[in-house]
Symmetry: C2
Subunit: 116 residues, 2 copies
DNA sequence: CACAATACCTCATCTGTCAAGGTATATCGG
DNA sequence: CCGATATACCTTGACAGATGAGGTATTGTG
């Protein structure tokens, strides 16, 4: 739990793009990376993750291909496209704007009486 | 425009509680305050706002009463309860955690190669 | 008198999340 | 050898929040 999903909603696709900026990866590994990066404070539910992959592939932000594992379960790898890279870059600006706006609104009550 | 609603989702109720921490207010005014606090970068859609009021009142975080305006349109005022105050305080911690987690994930690609 | 601003409300629809279910392979302890 | 656990993928239906579109009523302004 830790982080409510409604607080992450809107970041899902961009988080996936962010991890794919480091190189091609596959679903299970991406979620494990997310867990590690957040000290186990967050991970996607599987259904959410695969829904996001489908959405991103349909919009052209990523492409997929099957790996040629000799052993173990097959893996579907994802690769970020130029469109996906642009979307990722834009998401960083969006996130900075969001932090600014939410900070102002959530701390409105505390910063308001500055006239004292 | 400006801020995607999915990035605010999850903060809606807490933003309203934050403004009510400053004192009782009513829907129309709250939304105007939000617009000003964010330099017109953000405001709620009316339907979103009133949905949130109903949700907050049903959960006991706020209570409402009709103002006794002598002139002009009638106003429904909202007042934050103790439960609402506790929820607001908790939301600040949640928000700080969320910022930390999203920062880590969105900037993962940039901070990763630290071994150089 | 038309229009804008104030001020409230509802309903149907859309989107993203997720519980629950499924498939298949590899490894490890007993 | 068998059951459990980990890896790795997928789908479906239900649910919750946001919102477009519509509505009501009052007051002030040109």
């Amino acid at each position: 739990m830790s982080i409510a999903s409604d607080l992450i909603r809107g970041h899902t696709d961009n988080i996936i793009l962010s991890l794919l900026m480091k190189g091609d990866s596959y679903g299970y590994r991406i979620n494990k990376d997310i867990m590690e990066l957040t000290d186990r404070r967050f991970e996607f539910k599987e259904a959410t993750l695969y829904t996001a992959f489908r959405r991103l592939e349909q919009s052209g932000a990523i492409i997929s291909y099957w790996g040629d594992e000799q052993a173990g379960a097959r893996r579907k790898y994802y690769s970020i496209t130029d469109k996906g890279r642009r979307q990722y870059i834009e998401s960083l600006t969006e996130w900075e704007k969001t932090k600014n706006v939410v900070d102002r609104l959530l701390y409105a009550a505390k910063h308001e009486p500055e006239g004292l």
